[in-house]
C-alpha cells in the first residue's frame, strides 16, 4: 500500500513545481512578443550547411556524401567500383589535415560473432589502407569493428545481408565535432 502511494506523491510535486507562478520582475510592463527567439536571421556563407559543416561532405548530391563501401561474402577486398569514391575521400583528407575519419567495419549476421568481429576489423583496415596509400595520414584515421552487432538492415535475407557487409566512413571535424 505504501509503495502505491509514492507515485501519486511524486506526480503531485512535479505538477506543483511546474505550475508555481513566476513573479514578474518587470513589475507588469508588457514585453514585446518576438517570433524566432533572438530576432536575428542566421546567414551561413557559401560552403557550409545549417550546422556549419562542409556541404561538400553533407550535401546528398556530393560524391563525398557517399560513405559506405560494400563487400562480398567472406571478403575484405575493397572492390574496383569504389576506386573513385576512396580517391575522393583521400583527396579531401589530404586537403583538410585537421579532419579525422572513423571507419567502422560491419558484417552480416551469419557465422561466428567473434570471426565476424575480426572480419569487420579487416574490412575497416582495408578501407584505411586504401586511404593512406592515396595520401591520407595514419593519425587522421581510426578503424574499428562492430562485427555483426549493429546491422543497418535488420532483415534475414540476401539483400539485408548485402547491405550489412559494409564499411562506413564517418568524419570528425577539426573542431572535434563528429561523427557525421
Amino acid at each position: 500500500m505504501k509503495k502505491l502511494l509514492i507515485p501519486a506523491l511524486v506526480l503531485a510535486s512535479i505538477v506543483g513545481c511546474s505550475s508555481t507562478p513566476i513573479p514578474d520582475e518587470n513589475g507588469g510592463a508588457p514585453v514585446e512578443s518576438r517570433t524566432g527567439g533572438s530576432g536575428v536571421a542566421p546567414v551561413i556563407a557559401g560552403g557550409l550547411d545549417s550546422r556549419g559543416l562542409p556541404m561538400e561532405l553533407t550535401d546528398p548530391k556530393s560524391k563525398l556524401a557517399q560513405r559506405s563501401i560494400y563487400f562480398d561474402l567472406d571478403s575484405y577486398e575493397v572492390k574496383g567500383d569504389y576506386k573513385d569514391l576512396v580517391a575522393a575521400h583521400a583527396k579531401y583528407l589530404v586537403g583538410k589535415p585537421g579532419f579525422k575519419m572513423l571507419i567502422q567495419g560491419n558484417t552480416d549476421e551469419r557465422g561466428s560473432r567473434e570471426y565476424n568481429l575480426a572480419l569487420g576489423q579487416k574490412r575497416a583496415e582495408a578501407i584505411k589502407r586504401s586511404l593512406t596509400l592515396l595520401g591520407a595520414k595514419e593519425d587522421q584515421l581510426e578503424s574499428v569493428s562492430l562485427g555483426e552487432e549493429k546491422p543497418k538492415n535488420p532483415g534475414h535475407d540476401d539483400s539485408a545481408w548485402a547491405e550489412n557487409r559494409r564499411g562506413d566512413m564517418l568524419y570528425k571535424a577539426a573542431d572535434g565535432r563528429g561523427e557525421f
Binding site: I6, I14, E114, Y115, A118, Q121, L146
Partner: protein, 425 residues
C-alpha cells in the same frame, strides 16, 4: 527538492525491481531427441514433508529424463523411504533396472535434509546413498545433487545437473547477461546493457565470467565476479578487444587484440597484466581456446578461408586442424581432451560439428541452419549451442554423438552466446 529526489530514487528502485522480475524470463526446455538405449529407472516419491518432497522428487525425475539417458518407470502406489526393505524382484518385474527411494526431513537447525538410497534391482544390491542438507529455498538444488549421484552411479560419468549456464538475452533493445541452472530455472541477470554483450566464458572455479561488452562503443574485455558484481577491464587497447578464453588453471586469458592492425592472439593475466603475443600472422587469428593438453585452438584465415588451427599455449608454429569445407570456426576442445566441437558451413548452412581428435573423424551433429557458439558441458557429454527457431534465437543442447537434443528458449526475446559453467563444488 531534496525530498523529491529521495522519493524519485525510491520510485526508481521499485521500478527496477519490477523490471528485474520481467527480465527474469525463464528458459523453457523441450526435449526433441533421446538416446537409443535408455536405462529404465524408478524414482519413488520421497517420503516426509509433502511439499518439499514434491519439489525434490520432480527435480530428480525431470533431470534424469531430460538427459535422454533414462526412462522413468511408474512408481504410483509405492510408499518407500531410504530405510524401507526393497523387493528387488517386484521392481525388476515393473521393468526398472534401478530404484531410488528416500525422504525429506527437517534438520535440527530448521533446514531440510534430503536422503536417498539407490538400488540395482538386477543384482539386488544397494549402489549407494547420500544426504544433503539444504535451505527451504534451495530444494531444487538438493534434487539436482541427488540426480547427479544417480546419474554417476548408473552411467559411470559425473552428472551436470548442478551446474549453471550463462547466456545473453536480447529483449526490447537491451542486452542481459543471465545465469541460470542447467535446466534453465532460476535465471538471474548479472549485467544489463544498452550495447551488445558477447562471448561470455566461465572461469574454471565458476566464480567469474569473462566477456566482451560494447558499452564503451567498442569491444572491451571484462572479468566479472558473479557474487559481488565487481568488474575488471582486462583489455581496452586501440581497436577491438575480444574473444576471451580461460587457461585451465584460471590464471590467464587468451584474448584477441587488433591494436597492431589485424586481429591476433595474445595472452594476459586475469587482472590485465603480463600481456604476451601468441600468434604472428598476416590474416585474422581469433577465437582462442585452451585445451587440457596445453594447446590453444583458434580460427585463422591464413590459408585463404577461415579454418581451425592449433598452437602451443606459448606460441610457435601452428598446425591446421580442419580441412573439409571453406568455413570452420569457433573451436571448443572438450574438457576430457578427446574431441573438438566447432561450427562448419556446409552448403550455406552453419552446423555444429565434432571431431574425434585421435582419429580426426568429423561428424555433423545438427540439421539446423544457423548454429553458433558451442560450449561443452563439464562432463564433455553435451554441447550447448545458439541456434535459430522460427526467426528467434534459442539455445539447444546436443549430445556429443548428436542423438539427444534439447531446446531452451525464452518467451520474450532472443537468446544467444551460451556458456556452460564448470562442475559445482
Amino acid at each position: 527538492m531534496n525530498t523529491m529526489h529521495l522519493i524519485t530514487r525510491r520510485i526508481f528502485l521499485v521500478f527496477s525491481l519490477l523490471t528485474a522480475t520481467v527480465a527474469q524470463a525463464q528458459l523453457s526446455i523441450e526435449i526433441t531427441g533421446a538416446g537409443a538405449n535408455r536405462i529404465p529407472v524408478a524414482i519413488a516419491d520421497l517420503s516426509g514433508d509433502p511439499t518439499a518432497s514434491r519439489v525434490v522428487t520432480a527435480t530428480i525425475r525431470s533431470d534424469l529424463e531430460r538427459s535422454g539417458l533414462f526412462k522413468l518407470v511408474d512408481t504410483t502406489g509405492a510408499a518407500l523411504d531410504e530405510n524401507s526393505p526393497i523387493n528387488h524382484g517386484e521392481w525388476k518385474g515393473k521393468g526398472a533396472d534401478a530404484l531410488a527411494a528416500g525422504s525429506m526431513a527437517r534438520s535440527p537447525d530448521g533446514r531440510m535434509e534430503a536422503r536417498f538410497r539407490l538400488y540395482d534391482t538386477q543384482k539386488g544390491v544397494m549402489l549407494g546413498g547420500k544426504a544433503f542438507v539444504t535451505g527451504n529455498d534451495q530444494l531444487r538444488a538438493a534434487g539436482h545433487r541427488i540426480a547427479d549421484e544417480i546419474y554417476e552411479k548408473l552411467t559411470g560419468e559425473k552428472g551436470v545437473f548442478s551446474t549453471r549456464i550463462a547466456y545473453v538475452v536480447k529483449s526490447r533493445g537491451q542486452f542481459l547477461l543471465q545465469i541460470a541452472d542447467a535446466d534453465g530455472q532460476g535465471a538471474a541477470t548479472a549485467l544489463t546493457s544498452a550495447e551488445p554483450i558477447i562471448s561470455p566464458v566461465w572461469s574454471p572455479d565458476g566464480g567469474r565470467l569473462a566477456y566482451v561488452s560494447f558499452e564503451k562503443k567498442k569491444p572491451v574485455i571484462y572479468v566479472h565476479s558473479i557474487a559481488t558484481g565487481q568488474r575488471t577491464i582486462v583489455a581496452n587497447f586501440k581497436g577491438s578487444n575480444s574473444a576471451p578464453g580461460w587457461s585451465t588453471d584460471g590464471r590467464r586469458l587468451a584474448i584477441v587484440l587488433s591494436k597492431d592492425g589485424n586481429s591476433q592472439i595474445y595472452s594476459v593475466n586475469a587482472d590485465g597484466s603480463g600481456l604476451q603475443r601468441i600468434t604472428q600472422s598476416a590474416g585474422i587469428d581469433t577465437e582462442p581456446r585452451y585445451s587440457v593438453d596445453g594447446n590453444i585452438y583458434f580460427t585463422s584465415d591464413r590459408g585463404g578461408s577461415p579454418q581451425i588451427y592449433r598452437v602451443s599455449a606459448n606460441g610457435g608454429d601452428a598446425q591446421r586442424v580442419t580441412f573439409e569445407g571453406s568455413y570452420n570456426v569457433s573451436p571448443r576442445p572438450s574438457p576430457d581432451g578427446k574431441s573438438l566441437a566447432f561450427i562448419s558451413r556446409r552448403e550455406g548452412r552453419f552446423q555444429l560439428a565434432a571431431m574425434d581428435l585421435a582419429s580426426r573423424q568429423t561428424q555433423i551433429l545438427t540439421d539446423s541452419n544457423k548454429d553458433e557458439s558451442p560450449s561443452f558441458a563439464p562432463n564433455s557429454r553435451m554441447i550447448l549451442i545458439a541456434t535459430e527457431m522460427g526467426g528467434r534465437g534459442v539455445l539447444s543442447a546436443v549430445s556429443s554423438d548428436g542423438r539427444i537434443k534439447q531446446r531452451l528458449s525464452v518467451a520474450a526475446g532472443d537468446v544467444r552466446e551460451p556458456a556452460w559453467g564448470p562442475f559445482s563444488k
